[in-house]
């Protein structure tokens, strides 16, 4: 850290005053390739196991969309020594909390146990890496659950289908061309053989990172992890082979792609996305600041101008979505009654254009760096959040220390960095725009046509 550093724009930033709470951790690798991170913190008598498998929906075949997430459900349905239903039953009996989530790039499981149940937790979690024993009955039930999940989260919710519509328009024929939830037709035809194949390929120690955070003795944790995970066999493929086997060929969005969706909604909405560099690049971080300047807090540009001053929209937002192989800059607005989509679009484009032309001020940059600092401090509050970040940074960048050093990267971003990135990736760039309109307008459109 450079004390009293003055950036290119002459805006004084005293980096010594920036708060940094170091998260201390150690890294280990078992002989079967499982990567282990230990980060002790005895504030409360609980311990978090966070297990991240480097497999997500982008690893799926084109006709097996949604299998990574379906698989996440099936991991709770029994393994070599655990009967169907017992993962949850035993975990609750031991006073544990558990859950999991799937993204395009990873499938992440966690188990939070009272600290006297560390060995139990390692036993329970290791068994489902040890061996597959899902039954046809479990597969059938979980297909039903996942299909209802899709209905509840995507189909039966206002504007819920945004990500389903975006994926194929943003990405051309690669693993990001469909949403994590997948396709109901593909899900329905999943067989036990498909599922076993997926398991044997990806659910192996050399494709996983385990982080243990909380109240434990590091020597005990190391010994017990070795005891329960150490004898699990390596997979057929190396982690490198697995990630390179998933070829990623992508093309820019050609011009402006627009789609109109008639939904069960009262107020029209506009949803847009640009492609930007992937997560963890300097440019991605710069865009993270740009989108905060645009829409975080009531004094942000989009909120202040379009919600407050001009009263055109009821909600507005802009944010970055980082993935292993790509990044997206999103924006959206829900319109107030009587406002036209094209008018809101014009305003948003004008504000984006100001960013491209370098009209962000040093004051705004400082404001958003203060916001980043607060967010950084609050993120370190729980062991689950720490473990999730450490596993993530280890899985994708082999650098768990990013949990500590990313804040300095944010603090060194300049106005030029943001302007240059915006000019390169937003100016006259291809983008996808989804217009969500009330179904009642569709009837009108059809009527007009028949006339």
């Amino acid at each position: 850290m450079t004390p009293g550093y003055i950036n290119k724009n002459g805006y004084q930033l005293n980096l010594q005053e920036v708060i940094n709470r170091t998260v201390y951790f150690t890294e280990h690798t078992l002989s079967n390739g499982l990567k282990l991170i230990l980060t002790p913190d005895s504030s409360i008598p609980a311990v978090v196991l966070n297990l991240c498998y480097h497999v997500g929906s982008k690893n799926e075949d084109k006709n097996r969309r949604g299998y990574a997430h379906l698989f996440e459900h099936l991991m709770f349905e029994g393994s070599t020594n655990i009967l169907p239903g017992d993962y949850d039953r035993l975990s609750l009996q031991a006073g544990c909390e558990n859950n999991a989530y799937t993204t395009e790039d990873k499938t992440n499981y966690y188990l939070i146990a009272p600290s006297n149940q560390l060995e139990f937790a390692l036993w329970l979690e290791s068994d489902r890496m040890l061996g597959f024993s899902v039954t046809q009955e479990s597969l059938d039930v979980q297909k039903g659950v996942v299909i209802e999940e899709k209905k509840q989260v995507y189909d039966n919710r206002p504007y819920g289908s945004v990500s389903l519509n975006f994926a194929p328009l943003l990405y051309n024929n690669n693993g990001y061309s469909w949403d994590v939830i997948g396709d109901v037709k593909d899900l329905k035809k999943a067989t036990l053989e498909d599922i076993r194949e997926f398991y044997e390929k990806y659910y192996v120690p050399n494709n996983a990172v385990l982080t243990i955070a909380g109240d434990f003795d590091p020597d005990d944790a190391l010994r017990l992890t070795g005891k329960y995970f150490g004898s699990i066999k390596r997979g057929k493929f190396s982690a490198e082979e697995l990630s390179s086997s998933c070829a990623f060929i992508d093309e820019p969005v050609g011009g402006e792609v627009r789609k109109i969706i008639y939904d069960d909604i009262q107020l029209p909405g506009i949803f847009g996305a640009y492609k930007i560099p992937k997560e963890n690049t300097d440019e991605f971080l710069a865009f993270d600041l740009v989108t905060d300047i645009l829409s975080t807090g009531e004094s942000s540009r989009l909120y202040n101008e379009l919600v407050y001053q001009k009263q055109m929209v009821s909600d507005i937002g802009s944010w970055v979505e980082g993935r292993e192989l790509s990044g997206l800059l999103h924006f959206y607005a829900i319109l107030l009654p009587g406002v036209k989509i094209e008018d809101v679009q014009t305003e948003i484009d004008r504000i984006f254009n100001d960013v491209i032309e370098g009209k962000i001020t040093g004051h705004e940059l400082q404001k958003i760096k203060n916001r980043i600092e607060t967010r950084h401090v609050y993120r370190m509050q729980t062991n689950l959040a720490k473990a999730d970040s450490l596993s993530h940074f280890k899985t994708f960048y082999d650098t768990p220390g990013l949990i500590n050093t990313n804040i300095e990267r944010y603090m060194s971003i300049t106005l030029e960095d943001m302007q240059q990135a915006s000019e390169k990736y937003l100016k006259n760039a291809g983008r996808v725009i989804l217009e969500y309109l009330p179904k009642s307008q569709k009837k009108k459109a059809v009527k007009n046509k028949t006339k």
């Binding site: 005053e17 708060i19 709470r21 280990h28 690798t29 078992l30 282990l36 409360i44 008598p45 609980a46 020594n81 949850d88 039953r89 035993l90 609750l92 009996q93 031991a94 006073g95 909390e97 939070i112 146990a113 009272p114 006297n116 149940q117 060995e119 979980q142 039903g144 659950v145 209802e148 999940e149 209905k151 189909d155 039966n156 919710r157 206002p158 190391l222 070795g226 005891k227 150490g230 004898s231 069960d264 009262q266 107020l267 807090g297 009531e298 004094s299 919600v307 407050y308 009263q311 829900i334 107030l336 009654p337 404001k367 203060n370 916001r371 600092e373 607060t374 401090v377 509050q381 729980t382």
Partner: protein, 464 residues
């Protein structure tokens, strides 16, 4: 960087769970609690784990319950606090708090009105100045009110798209009868349009006073600092609210045995509520009821979730809730199921209600829920703000001071008979009201077996 000394599967018995070590004692953290002569209750939950402070102002028993016929008044009043004071415009407030990376939020629920500040310790003075200003000097300007009302009307409009929101609204309306909880806290198009600056000023004078104010200082701050700040910055509120009246009495509704469908044509799922009136938060049986409900439908391993999700795959999830307020509460089973199994799901839910009210739970169910509640209790104390929420609840709902220090031992003292008694006393399967947001065309006929079916549109009007 490596550890590979222990590949010992030959001696490792994986068939049985390893035994736990001795459990560690969990203590509810100490906190400072005093009431000043002007009536302000100051709480300090000190924790220097992160260099940040939250200050949470709670006006007790001063929420939407007092909207009377101006539905939405409490929440609009709270929202308007940050939209201009005698010293700062709305834009200045937003700019000043955003600049230090902090946040100030104001809102209300049925039981109170709230203003909270969250800021890094090094910016505490700036944050406190703004918080004290918005709490004590709001102007409720007409032009700002017009903006906030416009936003509120659009969110009321959007609420008509949300199946869960429509079900909740209808369910509350029926179950709570003539209690204020039956009204929509966010307001209706009509009520919001009718609310004026005078209404907000009256509500503010009635409900924002030092005698019902709790200020909780949370995080990296000492009690000396907290007391000094309270005395210097928060002394200008009056000690009494003007014209406060609470004269509500509950009359039992007679909607049991009826089915209310809010029609959402083309919906691919039915959003269900099955339930009746519940209990207020300070009911002495609350812990027994919570444990009973956890087994019934309160967690992933509950009977209802197991039955509807894990056994039948009808839904992504099903839960039951005792949702408590200061003066009353409700009980409901909530789920989203596919259209074809809407009636079957209701039958399964009612069977579970009958079972929990007639049969003792098993030893394993009781042991599991006790272990689970004990095991996750520390997680509820991991952040200073989580602790603060619990301490504030003690005050807001008039709970005994030792409630949380005895919480685990009270849970562990419960017997199967206690659980059965709680179920018999607080759940009555014959009195449930059934509400469904879904495609009436697809489900109406099947639902007639539960009683008379009434169909409504998203505005609450009956469709004949």
């Amino acid at each position: 960087m490596s550890n590979n000394t222990l590949a010992q599967d030959d001696v490792l018995d994986r068939t049985k769970p390893p035994k736990p070590g001795p459990p560690k004692d969990v203590q509810f953290p100490d906190y400072f609690d005093t009431t000043l002569p002007n009536g302000i209750n100051v709480l300090v939950i000190e924790n220097s784990k992160i260099p940040a402070v939250s200050v949470r102002m709670v006006f007790k028993d001063a929420g939407s319950f007092y909207d009377v016929d101006k539905f939405g008044l409490a929440s609009l009043t709270a929202e308007m606090l940050t939209k201009g004071t005698t010293n700062r415009s709305a834009t200045q407030i937003a700019e000043e708090i955003d600049f230090v990376g902090g946040s100030i939020n104001a809102g209300s629920d049925w039981d109170g009105s709230y203003i909270s500040l969250s800021v890094l310790r090094k910016h505490l003075n700036t944050g406190i100045d703004i918080l004290a200003d918005v709490a004590q000097n709001p102007v409720f300007a007409d032009d700002e009110l017009a903006r906030v009302k416009e936003q509120r009307l659009s969110s009321i409009l959007q609420g008509k798209d949300d199946a869960g929101h429509l079900s909740d609204k209808k369910f509350n309306k029926i179950v709570y009868g003539n209690l204020p909880y039956s009204n929509p806290a966010e307001g209706t198009e009509e009520s919001v349009k009718s609310i004026s600056r005078n209404d907000l000023q009256d509500f503010y004078r009635m409900n924002y006073y030092s005698g019902n104010l709790i200020i909780a200082f949370v995080g990296d701050i000492t009690k000396e600092e907290a007391l000094k700040i309270t005395e210097e910055k928060f002394s200008s509120l009056p000690s009494e609210g003007i014209n406060r009246v609470n004269s509500y009495k509950y009359n039992e509704n007679n909607s049991a045995g009826k089915v209310f469908i809010i029609n959402k044509k083309g919906a691919v799922q039915s959003n269900l509520r099955v339930g009746h009136l519940g209990i207020p938060r300070n009911n002495p049986d609350f812990i027994a009821v919570t444990i009973m409900n956890t087994i019934l439908g309160g967690y992933f391993g509950s009977r209802i979730n197991y039955n509807l999700r894990e056994k039948h795959g009808f839904t992504y999830g099903a839960r039951s809730y005792f949702n408590p307020h200061l003066y009353s509460g409700d009980f409901s089973v909530d789920t989203d199921v596919r259209n074809e199994v809407t009636d079957t799901s209701v039958t399964l839910i009612i069977e579970e209600l009958k079972r929990i009210t007639t049969e003792e739970i098993t030893d394993e169910e009781l042991a599991t829920v006790k272990n689970y509640m004990t095991g996750v209790f520390p997680l509820q104390l991991e952040t200073a703000n989580a602790v603060a929420s619990r301490v504030i609840n003690l005050k807001l709902y008039n709970l005994p001071k030792d409630y949380y220090s005895k919480y685990i031992s009270n849970i562990n003292a419960l017997t199967k008979q206690d659980i059965l008694n709680a179920a018999k006393k607080y759940i009555d399967p014959s009195k449930v009201t059934i509400v469904v947001s879904g495609d009436a065309g697809a489900i109406k006929d099947k639902m007639t077996r539960f009683g008379e079916v009434l169909v409504f549109d998203a505005d609450g009007n009956e469709i004949k």
